[in-house]
Structure formats: structure tokens, C-alpha cells
């Protein structure tokens, strides 16, 4: 029986071969995608584990071997050229010190180890911009085992125990932490792998959904002929089980071939994947790998799933020995189909002002609502198609309009199926674009020309363990004369005064730099934050400080703020100078550097969204083309007879165009509206933002998507001419 099924699958004529190939191809894409997602999740987790040793200060989490001689340990965050760098100052106290992965020993005072990426930066950068930050000499390179990413910037600097003990946040450790940051509550170095896993899953779902629709479309190719063949077999006594078995063999064959191809495609996808930096840092290619469990799950699960799906599909279209001749017109879709969309949008609306507290709660709430809306659109599609066809039939003046309208009204599900993929793609595009455009508009990347974001500030915060420099601490020599440095301002520490910021600065200093916030009129001293930052929104004017101008010089230094021209040389030279002058505190940073993490994540998401949008549009286009071609093939006889009776080809073209374009436009409008509504509700609930109109690229993308779809419809016209030739009208 299985042999018979195989025989039927491969000899089923061109349509059956096309069906096999399309289903196989779609399965291959889906499998490659699934594998990529699994690999991505594995990579995120591997990468996270690679961060573990940087958390060694959290001594209670350490599980490694106990070393006899405790080592001094101080981890600080540094930057170079906008990139984050981890710097660990260590102090060896004896021969048996704990050793982090990637190193054979801890560096002695006057020595340091760096990551390969940092080593090459050191080689190519003037020492006064980078190398001078590290006392001593480089004695080695940290091996891959100690790196989160090939691009990681890490320095492990050997110091004396006294030096390390003076550094902010310094501890003594005897063991290296080797548990993943996600399993360790105090370990703050690492990536939020749960969140990223979730986002990857969403991306995968957004791509798999249209793929599943495509597989559904392809499976229905030449379905009439297949049903006829099954009916013939049922007549001579094939039991429903046997038919199911034969059909299952066919789809399992396609799925198995597709799965194999998917495994072959995966390595290619993997090469591209290591360039996408969801976590902010590139993955090691080796981390993007699959576990045996993943391989088994996909390799066995997908064909198995296909077999189950084939069974389910046949259960719906039960094939009787008399074939489909007696099929009654399906009941028209009813208005309840609009409910799930409405429910999805209502769910999102409900969470306005009721934002869940936890990240997981939020993701569940918002993604749940968006997915419900998405599924709701698929459910509502046939109803919308029918509504469109009724309008069409009412407006019918030409026979073509009438035929198209009647056909759509008779089986709106079939009409909708062709454009369902496109509808989903448009929905995803609209949600993603709406959300990302708005977030970028509110707090995205640095607004161009805001010079204050390039101000480098080094500050001391007594309430976070910092020791304020004395009032007479001078501005480091050579800082003001560094090329590109416009000015160096000193912010004094005025202590906690009411709700005011703890910094104080003379108003005259601010007046010299109109791009900074200013004092209120008449004030002598302004109350400011140590880095002179202002709130994102609101007044540009600081409040007045109770201090007098005369008191200022006697107050301890809260921060030095270096106003630069934003050039790398100026920034890094100033930073290096400040770090060597104040080696024990927090390192200086700019507003841009603080913000860059989020901005970079946003860019990543935007890129990811673009991938999803383009891919789902392409898949949707394929779906449309396949179902159009299939639809024409299925109906070539009636069309050929119509042509014989004198209906012009142009009229038939109009029928085809109308019956695909009408649902296309009807559901597109609804999908876009639903997409933006969902985006607006999400923004309002999660971030309290208003929806911003999308940028030009959105209109271009949607316009392009619709144009390509209409082009696909047009491209089936030669097929129509060919298959409706008079030879098709003969009886056979």
C-alpha cells in the first residue's frame, strides 16, 4: 500500500510533481528557519554562559574549584569608540589563584591580558587614546573560551592587592563563577536570554505562519484531480484508511524531502545568522549549533507533523466513491468570524493602564493579543471576501464582474486562501513598522546635532560607594588643550538638598555653552546632574541651587564634564587621560554611550522586522502565484468552453483579475487597519506613546507588495491563454 502511494505520488503528472516540489520547498524553508531559531536560541544561551566568569564578583554563585590564594577582583565598564569594554583589575596573592576561562593564569602586577578584538584595536590605535589606560604590558591574549563573542572587548589587568582594593566595587574571590547569568540572581553581566528567546520565537512564528498558509495552498493544487483519483479507488473498495494512508505517504514524502533540503539549507542560513547580532554581540559560529534533541525534533517531527496534517485535511474533505460531484455549496461564512479580530484588539485595549509588571507578563499579554488578532484576520478573511464579492455583484455591469462576484460569493474561502498570506504579511508589516517607527520617534538614536550627547563625563556618586575627590582637585593636565575639546566644566557636589540634583555649577559656565541646559533668570548657581544631562522631555532650564557662587570652590568635585567635538580622537584621548588620572572610580562615558545599547537593540529589531516583512511578502507572493495558477488550471475546461462560445479572452482576464484583486484589496485594507490599531494599542499600553505615522519606506514596501501581487495576477494571463485553447474543450 505504501508502495502504491509512492507510485501515485511520483507519477501523478505535472501538477502532482509541482505540488510535491512546492510543498517540499516550503517545508525546506520552514525547516531551515526552525533550525536557525533553535541554533539562535542555543547560541544565545552559549553566549550567556560565556559571560559567566565576568560575574565572579558574585562569590555566592561560584561553583568552580576553590583556589588557595584569594585574588583581588574589580570589574568595571569602559568604552572605546562607542563599543562597550569589560575591564577586570585583578591582584594575585599567591601561586594558586583562581583562573578564568581562556587564560592560563592571572596576570601579575604590570601585566595585562586582552581579548583578540581589543588586541587588534591596541595595535591600530595611538596609545594615548587606548593603550595608556592599561598599566604595564600586554602578556597574552584571552582565548575564545573566555570571550562572549569574537568581537568582545575585554581586558584583564594585573595590579597589586592594595591597588585593587582601592577600586570601586572590588572584592576578593577564590572561585570563578561558571553558571549562566540567567541562573544567578546577582549576575548582572549577560544578556536577557529569556526575552531574546521569546523574540526569536515570535520572529519564527511570524515567518512560519505564512509558510504554513503556503503549504496549505500548495497542498490544494490540483486537488480536484486528486480527489477524483481517490474516488475511483474508493469505488473499487479502498477503505478510508487506505486512502488516508496513500495521501499520507504523498505528503510525508514531500515533507521528508523538504526536511532533508532544509537541513542542507541550514548551514547557509547559519553563516548569515552569525552576522545578525540580536544580543548586541556577534555569536561564535560554533555556538550557533544544534543539539541532537533539536535535530531529532525537527528531523522526525516535521514529517510526522505533515503526516498528521494530511490525515486531518482528509478528514475534512471526506472522499466518497462518487467523488465530489454531489458536493453541496458550502455554507456562507457568517459574521461571527469577525469576533476573534475584535477580541484580539479588545484584549490589547484592555491592557491600557493595566500593564503587567513582569517582562514575561507583558510579552504574554501583548504578543497574545497580537497573535489573536493575526489568527482572527485569517478567520475573518472569508467573511470579508464575501462582503467584497457582494459589493462587486451589486455593481456588476459586465458579465466578467458578475462571474467573478458569483464565484467569490459561492466559495469565499477559496478566494481568500489565495491572498491570505499577503494579508498576514501586511499585518505583520504594519504592526512592526508602527511600533518601531513610534519608538524611534520617541527615544531612538541620538538626534543629529545634539552636541551634549558627546560630552564625556566622569562622576563620583557617594550614595553608590564613590569617594568624592577633594575640592581642590585640578582638571587633569592636558585635558583642556586636547584637540577637539571645547571646554572642561567642573560640577561640585552640593549634597542632598530637597529633591534637587546633587550637582551645582556656576551659571556663567552654562551661559558660555548655549547647547547645555541653562539657569533660571537671575540665578547664580544651578542645581544639575553630574553629567549635565537633562530629562528627555521637558524644560531646558535647571532649577536654581541654594549654594552661592562663593561657596562653590570649597565644595568637593562631583564630576568633570568634557565638552568635545564628538571626534573619536578627542573622546578617547580625554577618556584615557581621565582614566589614568582617576584609576579607582567609575570610568567616564558619554550620554551617547549610555544610550547606544538601546539604540543598537532597536536597530537590530528594525533589521529583524525588515527580514520578517520582506520574507513574508515573498512567501505571500509565492502563495498567491501558486493558487492563481492552480485556480486557472482547475477551471480550464469551463473557461475553454466559455471561450468557444465566444467570450473574449479579455473578458476572462477580467474575471481572473477581479476575483483575485477584490479579496486582495478588501483584506489588505482590513489587515493594515488592524495592524496599526494593534500597534497603537500596544504603544499606548506598554509605553504610553502615541502612534506615529510610518516613514516613506513603509509606503514603498506596501506599494511594492501590492504591485508585485497585481503583477503576479497579470503574469498568469499567458497561462490563461494557453490553457483555454479550444483543445481543452474536448471531452475526455
Amino acid at each position: 500500500m505504501i508502495r502504491l502511494g509512492l507510485r501515485l505520488a511520483v507519477t501523478g503528472g505535472r501538477a502532482a510533481i509541482a505540488r510535491l516540489a512546492l510543498v517540499g520547498g516550503a517545508v525546506a524553508l520552514g525547516v531551515a528557519l526552525l533550525l536557525a531559531v533553535f541554533a539562535g536560541i542555543n547560541a544565545v544561551q552559549s553566549q550567556n554562559l560565556r559571560y559567566a566568569w565576568l560575574n565572579s564578583a558574585v562569590t555566592e554563585a561560584a561553583t568552580g574549584t576553590e583556589a588557595a590564594d584569594a585574588a583581588g577582583w574589580a570589574l568595571r565598564e569602559d568604552y572605546f569608540a562607542g563599543r562597550r569594554m569589560a575591564r577586570v583589575d585583578v591582584a594575585v596573592t599567591g601561586p594558586d589563584s583562581p583562573v578564568p576561562p581562556g587564560m592560563t593564569r592571572l596576570p601579575a602586577p604590570g601585566e595585562y591580558y586582552v581579548s583578540p578584538a581589543l588586541a587588534s584595536l591596541l595595535a591600530s590605535t595611538p596609545a594615548d587614546q587606548l593603550g595608556d589606560r592599561f598599566p604595564g604590558r600586554q602578556v597574552g591574549v584571552i582565548g575564545d573560551a573566555g570571550l562572549a563573542s569574537p568581537d568582545s572587548l575585554i581586558a584583564v589587568v594585573g595590579r597589586t592587592p592594595q591597588e585593587v582594593a582601592g577600586i570601586i566595587g572590588a572584592t576578593k574571590i577564590t572561585r570563578i563563577v561558571s553558571v549562566s547569568p540567567q541562573d544567578c540572581s546577582g549576575c548582572y553581566v549577560g544578556v536577557g536570554s529569556d526575552g531574546i528567546t521569546l523574540i526569536l520565537s515570535v520572529v519564527a512564528a511570524a515567518l512560519l505562519f505564512p509558510l504554513l498558509m503556503f503549504i496549505g495552498t500548495a497542498t490544494r493544487l490540483a486537488a480536484a484531480r486528486r480527489e477524483q483519483r481517490f474516488a475511483a479507488m474508493r469505488l473499487v473498495g479502498a477503505t478510508p484508511r487506505q486512502i488516508t494512508l496513500i495521501a499520507t505517504v504523498e505528503s510525508t514524502l514531500a515533507a521528508a524531502a523538504g526536511t532533508l533540503l532544509g537541513f542542507a539549507l541550514f548551514p547557509l542560513l547559519r553563516l548569515g545568522l552569525d552576522r545578525i547580532t540580536f544580543t548586541g554581540e556577534r555569536f561564535f559560529l560554533g555556538d550557533l549549533s544544534l543539539t541532537w534533541f533539536n535535530v531529532l525534533l525537527v528531523g522526525a517531527g516535521v514529517p510526522l507533523g505533515a503526516a498528521v496534517a494530511a490525515r486531518a485535511a482528509l478528514r475534512r474533505v471526506r472522499i466518497t466513491p462518487l467523488g465530489v460531484a454531489r458536493r453541496v455549496t458550502p455554507r456562507p461564512p457568517r459574521a461571527w468570524r469577525l469576533l476573534p479580530v475584535a477580541a484580539g484588539l479588545c484584549e490589547l485595549a484592555w491592557f491600557i493602564d493595566r500593564r503587567p509588571r513582569t517582562t514575561n507578563g507583558q510579552t504574554e499579554a501583548y504578543l497574545g493579543g497580537i497573535f489573536l488578532t493575526m489568527i482572527g484576520l485569517v478567520v475573518a478573511g472569508p467573511y470579508l471576501t464575501m462582503a467584497g464579492s457582494r459589493v462587486l455583484a451589486r455593481l456588476a455591469r459586465r458579465p466578467a464582474t458578475l462571474i467573478a462576484g458569483r464565484r467569490l460569493a459561492d466559495d469565499p474561502r477559496a478566494g481568500f486562501r489565495a491572498v491570505s498570506g499577503l494579508m498576514l504579511a501586511l499585518f505583520v508589516t504594519s504592526v512592526a513598522t508602527g511600533v518601531i517607527t513610534s519608538i524611534v520617534a520617541y527615544r531612538g538614536e541620538t538626534p543629529v546635532g545634539t552636541a551634549t550627547y558627546d560630552n564625556l563625563s566622569i562622576g563620583w556618586y557617594p550614595d553608590h560607594g564613590g569617594k568624592l575627590p577633594a575640592a581642590d582637585t585640578p582638571i587633569p593636565a592636558g585635558l583642556t588643550t586636547t584637540p577637539g575639546v571645547r571646554d572642561v566644566l567642573v560640577v561640585r557636589y552640593q549634597g542632598i538638598v530637597g529633591n534637587l540634583p546633587t550637582g551645582a555649577i556656576g551659571c556663567a559656565d552654562l551661559t558660555r555653552h548655549p547647547d547645555l541646559g541653562q539657569c533660571p533668570p537671575g540665578a547664580q548657581v544651578g542645581a544639575v546632574y553630574a553629567d549635565l544631562s537633562r530629562p528627555d522631555f521637558g524644560s531646558d532650564v535647571y532649577e536654581a541651587s541654594p549654594m552661592t557662587l562663593a561657596q562653590l570652590p570649597s565644595l568637593p568635585v562631583n564630576s568633570f564634564v568634557v565638552l568635545t567635538d564628538g571626534s573619536r580622537a578627542a573622546l578617547e584621548h580625554s577618556r584615557t587621560l581621565l582614566e589614568s588620572t582617576f584609576p579607582d572610580g567609575r570610568f567616564p562615558s558619554t550620554e551617547n554611550e549610555w544610550r547606544s545599547d538601546f539604540a543598537r537593540t532597536l536597530v537590530q529589531f528594525q533589521r529583524l522586522a525588515d527580514v520578517v516583512i520582506v520574507a513574508s511578502l515573498v512567501i505571500a507572493g509565492c502563495s498567491l502565484a501558486v493558487s492563481l495558477a492552480g485556480g486557472i488550471n482547475e477551471r480550464k475546461r469551463p473557461f475553454a468552453l466559455l471561450r468557444l462560445t465566444g467570450v473574449r479572452l479579455a473578458e476572462l482576464r477580467r474575471v481572473i483579475t477581479l476575483e483575485s484583486a477584490v479579496p486582495l484589496l478588501a483584506v489588505s485594507a482590513v489587515a493594515i487597519a488592524a495592524g496599526f490599531t494593534a500597534a497603537a494599542l500596544f504603544l499606548r499600553s506598554q509605553l504610553d506613546y502615541d502612534l506615529k505615522p510610518p516613514g516613506l519606506s513603509y509606503y514603498v514596501l506596501v506599494g511594492l507588495g501590492l504591485a508585485v501581487s497585481l503583477g503576479l495576477i497579470a503574469s498568469t494571463m499567458p497561462l490563461l491563454r494557453r490553457v483555454t485553447g479550444p483543445q481543452q474543450a474536448r471531452n475526455d
Binding site: M1, R3, L4, R7, L8, T11, G12, G13, A16, Q228, R229, A232, M233, R234, L235, V236, G237, A238, T239, P240, R241, Q242, T320, P321, L322, G323, R326, V328, D732
Partner: protein, 225 residues
């Protein structure tokens, strides 16, 4: 003689449209019965009910000594496969299979291994005068040849009852008679009961007797006189 088939008060509707409204019929073993009637009279539906393809809404159907209208789909399929043969008007051959595979199909479905099934199938090509066509696909056969292949398939399982629904409907009268000759000869040789639905009197004349179906009822003698 004992009854091979019996229908008692069989009624069946398609949606709102009644096709059979209480049809009664007895077919004796070995009999060749022609079921006649105008288009839409329900004669094909009666055949479908007798053959266990359709399940009547009301009434009973007995075939080969057992009641079949209350069997489930799989049981009826097996009954069709093992005890019944079918020759329909057209569209009954599976286009992807060769002629001999089509003939062997009921045997294959019944679990006969491929080689013996094909061997038995090939014997019929000689008997029905279509030798040489074993490897052709149905698209490469003329109407008469296809119908002989279908007849071979209907008979290969040595069925107790052969159901023929307009078996010559798509053929010219000369070719149709050849097929009918073969059908009647083969059925007689095997001792098979034949139910033959036709609207052509000349085809019905091959039967031992005819019954008339009109408006979903059997009007002329339901039992052999």
C-alpha cells in the same frame, strides 16, 4: 434460487431533493437485471445503495445474505472490494497507473502481493481481447479499450455481484455491444449476479429481465416472474 440482493423500502434524499422514495427490489443469485428508467428517476442512486456506496436514509438492504445498510464505511469498502465488481460510464481508471495496475488495484487494496496481483490481472487482458495494452496509461486507451480494462478490473476479484452503471454510455453502439457481450459472457461464466443500470433498451436487452425505476420507486415487477 436465493436472493443475491434485496432492497426494502429504500429511501434517500440529497439535501431537499428525494432521489429514492421507498424502492423495493429482489435480485436472484446469478441473475442479470437491467435497471431502467428516465434521467433523474433514481436508478443510479438505487445501484449506489445496493452496492453499499451510499447509505439509505430509510429502508434495508441485504446483500449476499447479510444486511449491509448498517455497516460502517470501512466494512462497506471491504465488501465492495471483496465481493463486488464495478464498471461505470467513465472516469473510473486511475490515470497515474498503467492498465494492468488498474486491473490489479482491487487485489492490491485487498492485500494481495504485487506480483501475484499483476499476474492475475494480466490473464484478463487475453480474455477480453486487449492483450498488448497492459502497460498503457488510461489516457492512451480508446473509449472501448478503457471500458474493457474497467471490465477486467470489475471481474478480476471474481465478484459475486457486478454493478454496471451505463457501462456503454460513452461508447458508440458497435463498441458498446462488444463490451456488453464480454460483460454478459464473463459474468455468466463466473456465475456472477449483474445489476446493470442503463437507459438504453438495447443494452437492457442483454439482461435476463428489466425493472423500471420511476420517481424513486420500482414500478415494474421487483421480483423475477
Amino acid at each position: 434460487m436465493s436472493a443475491a440482493l434485496e432492497a426494502r423500502g429504500v429511501a434517500l434524499s440529497f439535501g431537499e431533493t428525494p432521489a429514492l422514495r421507498g424502492a423495493d427490489l429482489i435480485v436472484e443469485t446469478g441473475e442479470i437485471v437491467a435497471v431502467m428508467g428516465p434521467s433523474g428517476s433514481g436508478k443510479s442512486t438505487l445501484l449506489h445503495c445496493l452496492a453499499g456506496i451510499l447509505v439509505p436514509d430509510a429502508g434495508e438492504i441485504h446483500a449476499l445474505g447479510r444486511r449491509i445498510d448498517n455497516l460502517n464505511e470501512a466494512e462497506r469498502s471491504e465488501l465492495r472490494r471483496d465481493r463486488f465488481g464495478f464498471v461505470f460510464q467513465f472516469g473510473q481508471l486511475v490515470p497515474e497507473l498503467t492498465a494492468e495496475e488498474n486491473v490489479a488495484l482491487p487485489l492490491l487494496l485487498g492485500g494481495v502481493r504485487r506480483e501475484p496481483a499483476l499476474r492475475r490481472a494480466r490473464e484478463w487482458f487475453g480474455r477480453l481481447g486487449i492483450d498488448g495494452l497492459e502497460r498503457r496509461r488510461s489516457g492512451e486507451l480508446s473509449g472501448g479499450q478503457a471500458q474493457r480494462v474497467a471490465l477486467a478490473r470489475g471481474l478480476v476479484g471474481e465478484p459475486a455481484v457486478l454493478f454496471a452503471d451505463e457501462p456503454t454510455g460513452a461508447l458508440d453502439s458497435f463498441t458498446g455491444e462488444q463490451v456488453m457481450d464480454l460483460l454478459v459472457d464473463s459474468a455468466r461464466r463466473q456465475g456472477a449476479t449483474v445489476v446493470l443500470v442503463t437507459h438504453e433498451a438495447r443494452v437492457a436487452a442483454y439482461a435476463d429481465r428489466e425493472i423500471m425505476v420511476r420517481d424513486g420507486r420500482v414500478t415494474s415487477p421487483a421480483v423475477a416472474s
